[in-house]
């Protein structure tokens, strides 16, 4: 369609093309499956349950369970989770179910252990409440340390970037006004036929962040289009293949489905800032993202995709072949999806402390000072940490009372011998909990607070944290 519109124009394309198939295959964390186990004898009203050691929840009565893609195995953590359980079941493999209950007169059993395959389940439906994000952020990391996020591994100081989504192949990008897709639209889901059952949670169509809620019979699906995934340091997820046919009902749709990656913009977002509103470094197009490198602050950064373009194309092609051979029929939606909703932030009735709320001025020294002078300052100011700065107050290093003690013991006199140059720092707008975790992780008791130019603004210590907790 895209090529045809470009070469022959919208009018010709509208006459020639009946349906455009769109598709995506990416990590979609808000996915899961509902299963009904049937009753055991004696019957049980399940309270807690695990499938292959992954906790599953019990949304309904006695023997209905929901396998959430992001729930992790208690033993294997992010190496195996709900997404993998669903994949294993879809692949026809055996899964161990373990359950406990409190026991009632009608459901006396209190524990259960059995082996199940998908054929033993009465219902096994994929029920994804947020799939198919219209577009997603491009993630970078401005900090000095590797961070592990749901956008995968981000190397320090912008050494890589990641993005998600299929760009011009994404279903919602091809029908951005929701003319043809809505509740009841038959779609490709996980290798079988499924349905759009409404807008997805966080659906925000006005700013091109639309989502879908979908359902399909998982017993008929294929593990090729439904795969468990592991994100180190984040957890588990599931890659879901979603394909949507878009009937070309008017010239407008012919034009819309001709959308190119070069016309789809997304934000470059700094994931090292642990806040809801993260700093942004401008926008890039999906064309740039798919080229393998982008420019961030004038620097060339290599970028790679988290979604699989290869499988997304296969989704589109498979759906096309189903339509061609007459095994898939397009449907008219019975209700349109909302086009005005926005995704609002959470209402919070309790404030949490940030670094800025407890930090205090740092006691500093310069690199040419004697250790004895520093020792005196530690005593007179009654602190344990002296921050070493240059004449413009930029961070150079840190000296602790322990370093000074060691200098005495080892008869060292030069500051350079005892100063730590690789300083672990904090930023003013970080949650105190994050800064506190960082101290524990590095086994240290204070963090100089710096700004983006590395100028020292203050210091936050383990004492500040414990004082706050003791309030």
């Amino acid at each position: 369609m895209k090529k045809l519109v470009e070469s022959s124009g919208v009018e010709v394309a509208f006459k020639e093309v009946d349906v455009v198939t769109t598709g995506t295959f990416g990590a979609m964390c808000s996915s899961g499956a509902i299963v009904n186990l049937g009753h055991s004898d004696p019957p049980i009203k399940i309270d807690q349950a695990w499938m292959n050691d992954v906790e599953v929840c019990h949304p309904g009565a006695a023997v209905d369970l929901f396998i959430g893609a992001t729930n992790m195995s208690q033993k294997h953590q992010c190496e195996y989770g709900g997404g993998h359980v669903i994949q294993d079941l879809v692949a026809g493999e055996e899964v161990e179910l373990r359950a406990t209950a409190y026991g009632t007169d009608c459901y006396p059993r209190t524990s259960l252990k059995t082996i199940l395959t998908k054929n033993d389940l009465n219902q096994f439906y994929l029920l994804n409440f947020r799939n198919c994000y219209q577009r997603y952020n491009c993630a970078v990391n401005s900090s000095d340390e590797i961070i592990y996020t749901y956008m995968s591994k981000l190397l320090p100081r912008f050494r890589n970037a990641t993005f998600s989504g299929a760009g011009e192949l994404n279903p919602l990008m091809n029908d951005p006004d929701y003319e043809t897709l809505g509740m009841g639209t038959r779609i490709f889901l996980g290798g079988a036929q499924g349905y759009i059952i409404g807008e997805g949670t966080q659906h925000s169509p006005k700013n091109l962040n639309g989502t879908l809620m979908v359902k399909g019979d998982a017993k008929k699906m294929s593990p090729e289009f439904l795969q468990g995934a592991s994100f180190t340091g984040y957890g588990t997820s599931m890659y879901v293949g979603v394909g949507v046919p878009i009937p070309i009902l008017n010239e407008g749709l012919a034009k819309k489905t001709a959308i190119r990656d070069s016309a789809i913009l997304t934000d470059i977002v700094d994931y090292s800032v642990p806040r809801r509103d993260r700093p942004k470094f401008g926008q890039v197009t999906y064309k740039d993202l798919k080229s393998g490198s982008i420019s961030v602050n004038g620097k060339k950064v290599r970028v790679s995709s988290l979604s699989s373009l290869k499988v997304a194309k296969k989704v589109c092609q498979t759906l096309k072949s189903w339509i061609d051979e007459g095994s898939f029929f397009l449907t008219t939606p019975i209700e349109r999806l909302p086009t005005e909703t926005v995704f609002r932030p959470m209402r919070q009735t309790e404030e949490i402390p940030f670094v800025v709320s407890v930090m205090h001025p740092a006691v500093t020294c310069t690199e040419d000072e004697e250790i004895s002078a520093i020792a005196k300052r530690i005593v007179t100011k009654s602190v344990n940490h002296i921050v070493v700065v240059d004449e413009t107050c930029k961070l150079l290093g840190i000296v602790t009372s322990w370093d000074v003690t060691r200098a005495m013991a080892e008869e060292k006199t030069a500051l350079a011998d005892i100063e730590t140059h690789k300083v672990v720092t904090a930023k003013t707008d970080e949650p105190l909990e994050v800064a506190s975790k960082r101290m524990a992780q590095h086994n240290i008791s204070a963090l100089p607070v710096i700004n983006i130019e590395r100028k020292v603004l203050g210091i936050v210590t383990a004492e500040d944290v414990s004082k706050l907790l003791g309030r």
Partner: protein
């Protein structure tokens, strides 16, 4: 160029063995990765083919173990070609083929001492193979 994996034990790390060999034999040793601490370490380096044997003998003469490193292993059944590993690779060994499949260049990959892509693979399709001393030596490798 031939690739070598040099492994130092606890007693050898304090000596500048690699530097001594570079100076003594005037070898342009290109170090691709190095991980060394007080307990031992590993260096992956490239040396020109014509002086490979000299270099190997020189390291062995100093009691240092030297092998050809085995690469990481990629399970193509598990890999669904997302490509999240591509931008992480420091030596451009991973790329997207014309059909959008992820492909590994085993010549370029520096193997298990790098392993930066291993824990970033959502499909867990990449495995790091720790080389051991029984592995094919440089000489045997050359005969193939």
């Amino acid at each position: 160029m031939a690739r070598i994996l040099v492994r130092f034990n606890e007693d050898q790390v304090s000596e500048p063995i690699a530097s001594q060999i570079i100076i003594e034999y005037k070898v342009p040793l290109a170090i691709l990765s190095a991980h060394i601490n007080s307990k031992g370490g590993e260096i992956i380096a490239e040396v020109p083919d014509d002086i490979l044997e000299t270099v190997v003998k020189a390291f062995r003469g100093r009691g240092v173990s030297i092998t050809v490193p085995k690469l990481i292993e990629v399970n193509s059944d598990k890999c669904f070609s997302c490509g999240s590993c591509i931008a992480l690779c420091p030596v451009d060994a991973i790329s997207l083929a014309a059909d959008c499949s992820v492909q590994f260049d085993k010549e370029k990959c520096v193997g298990s001492t790098c392993s930066i892509c291993v824990d970033a693979c959502p499909a867990r399709a990449i495995k790091s193979i720790k080389p051991n001393n029984n592995e094919a030596s440089v000489n045997r490798e050359k005969k193939r």
